[in-house]
């Protein structure tokens, strides 16, 4: 147990993986404390999955070193495999088999006897609310059920380290919350979780430390608080009554609040990124923003105070956005 409560679950130094000309992972250093949820945040193609695959011994690093609970992922791969589990869209279960069959199959591969594998499988299916679907082929499962059986398959033996590679991608909000509950239950029992995600709120909900990666490099790392402080406390989304007033609103926010302003595709909408300061909170700054706009005679129909989105985090950290929907105005 001591390794689960103290020390590092994962330690990498200068990890590199190249595919042809592309450096998918380009010198990643990570230190993941045991017993926590560690978030790896980044857009598609940032190198998240490649990093996880190297740590889970599925890919061989081209450079650098990685240790999982002190074991080298290349030289002591078997030792690492004995302590980790992996759930990702590429590490799934067999669609042609039923839920029960999948769990019994993996249980047997992990060394359980027939009876024990059956029992453990049934208990897991029950805990995951899948008892009714136990005898159905997994290809007939819904997205949420599918993710549950994937995770169930990863905890047949309680792992010391669980990799969850984008566990909620493509799920509806309800199923997403349920996956989050599962993650919390897993980490509460002492398992370390490495979670990759594209969503800041997911990392925010679950992770105690977060690494932001982009183009194969870690561009920021820290606790949630540190990361948010570095990005700015949040943003205000505004909808004006009159599109003609937008340039004026932009000027007011920029000049008086020193906020970075993004113009939205909707001609009456704009977003102000509020820098963080010790003296006032995001809410204070939003209130000031509204007051300044009202004084300038600009009518605000509607406003909301938001957390920084991944786009905003990226903009703040890298000076370019995630590439999801490029806005020309951003550079201005």
């Amino acid at each position: 147990m001591s390794t689960q409560t103290s020390g590092l679950a994962i330690e990498t130094a200068g990890l590199v993986k190249t595919f042809g000309e592309t450096r998918a992972v380009d010198g990643v250093d990570l230190a993941v404390p045991a017993g926590t949820v560690y978030g790896v945040l980044g857009p598609n193609g940032a190198g998240k999955t490649t990093t996880v695959k190297m740590l889970a011994t599925l890919l061989r690093p081209d450079g650098g070193e990685a240790h999982v609970f002190g074991h080298d992922v290349v030289r002591e791969a078997d030792e690492v495999r004995g302590r980790v589990s992996l759930t990702g869209q590429y590490a799934s279960v067999d669609e042609d088999l039923t839920g029960t069959e999948n769990l019994v199959l993996l249980g047997r591969l992990l060394g359980h006897g027939k009876k024990a594998a059956r029992e453990r499988g049934a208990q897991l299916l029950e805990a995951f609310g899948l008892t009714e679907a136990a005898g159905k082929q997994v290809k007939h499962y819904s997205g949420g059920m599918r993710r549950r059986i994937d995770i169930a398959a990863s905890i047949l033996n309680t792992p010391d380290l669980l990799f969850l590679d984008e566990p909620t991608a493509g799920l509806d909000p309800r199923s997403r919350n349920q996956v989050w509950d599962i993650v919390r239950a897993v980490v509460a029992q002492g398992t370390t979780v490495l979670l990759t995600t594209q969503y800041l709120d997911e990392a925010d909900q679950l992770a105690s430390r977060i690494a932001v990666i982009d183009k194969g490099r870690v561009i920021a790392e820290g606790t949630k608080g540190e990361l948010k402080a570095s990005v700015g406390a949040g943003s205000v989304h505004l909808r004006l009554r009159d599109a003609d007033q937008r340039p004026e609103a932009e000027r007011v926010l920029r000049d008086l609040l020193a906020a970075e302003v993004q113009l939205e595709p909707d001609p009456v909408a704009l977003t102000a990124l509020l820098g963080a300061a010790a003296s006032d909170t995001a809410a204070d700054r939003a209130a000031r923003a509204l007051a300044e706009l009202s004084r300038a005679g600009i009518t605000v129909d509607n406003f909301s105070l938001g957390q920084p989105s991944l786009d905003e985090v990226f903009l703040a950290l890298t000076g370019h956005d995630t590439g999801h929907d490029t806005k020309d105005e951003v550079a201005a």
Binding site: L97, L105, R108, H112, E126, H140, S142, N157, T158, T191
Partner: protein, 282 residues
């Protein structure tokens, strides 16, 4: 299909955090299973897949029967005077050809598993590395057995009478299974190496058609041009077909059996390690 939609639309039962927590508390692990046990477990998976997708048995039932009927009645009269005379010669050969042909589906199943994502889960398990591959091949051995039995039954109905009796026939099939098991490692390699299921199929066809047809399966090689005889007489399929034919006829062709096992060993020694290297590096 109605069951599927029923599952989708119904409210999903909640996750039970308390029972989940109770399950996660247990951290003791069973001892690591033996390589035999994990290979057999993967073989069991193949059997389960046959159970759930019985259509996949088409290639080991309908296809061999079609081959047998087609070649017996197409060539029988011309080559041996009558189909019933020809079948004495051609049945063991077609048996060999059909089973060797269906070995290529091994590569296809490997490739589909990679595509579907179940493969990486297996690779991340702390088990004897080749067991997933051996599992495919064990499942396939079952398929080859089914194909062999089906063809023999149809052959017997058509008038095939093996002089070697039950023992000779079983010995012939056993040799065919051993060879096919070893030969399949060629396809596991392609399954890992090529990107799509389609390309695995095309490459397999390119190898398997010339290899099976350019042999003594249908005719005595003496009528072929010299350069072709040189190839045909040294082809592993010729050795295998001769050995199976002789075994089923009640003889003991030590030479041909030796050649066949030698080829099998060569395939295993060359393509087994290449497959495992790709498997570990993938």
């Amino acid at each position: 299909m109605s069951t599927a939609t029923g599952t989708e639309s119904k409210e999903l039962a909640p996750v039970r955090a308390d029972s989940l927590a109770a399950l996660l508390v247990a951290r003791e692990r069973p001892p690591r299973p033996s390589s035999l046990s994990t290979s057999l477990t993967f073989g069991w998976r193949a059997v389960l897949k046959i159970k759930h997708v019985p259509e996949q048995l088409f290639d080991v039932t309908a296809f061999p029967i079609m081959n047998l009927l087609m070649f017996t009645y197409l060539f029988g009269g011309a080559l041996a005077g009558s189909p019933s005379d020809y079948i004495q010669f051609v049945l063991p050969g077609i048996l060999v050809m059909s089973v060797v042909m269906i070995t290529m589906y091994t590569g296809v199943s490997v490739n589909i598993d990679i595509e579907k994502g179940v493969f990486d889960r297996f690779r991340s398990l702390p088990i004897w590395r080749p067991s997933a591959m051996v599992g495919y091949l064990l499942g396939d051995a079952l398929r080859y057995t089914i194909a062999s039995v089906v063809m023999l039954v149809v052959g017997l109905v058509l008038g095939y009478r093996p002089d070697g009796g039950f023992t000779g026939v079983v010995a012939g099939i056993a040799l065919l299974l051993v060879f096919s098991f070893a030969f399949s490692w060629v396809w596991t390699m392609f399954g890992l190496m090529l990107r799509t299921e389609k390309s695995v199929m095309s490459v397999s066809m390119l190898v398997i058609f010339p290899l099976t047809f350019l042999s003594n399966v249908f005719v005595d090689p003496k009528t072929m041009p010299g350069w072709l005889q040189a190839f045909v007489n040294n082809s592993p399929i010729t050795h295998l077909a001769s050995a199976v034919r002789e075994l089923m006829a009640g003889h003991w062709p030590a030479d041909e059996i030796g050649w066949t096992l030698g080829w099998a060993a060569l395939f295993l020694v060359v393509f087994g390690p290449v497959t495992m290297r790709l498997y570990n590096r993938k």
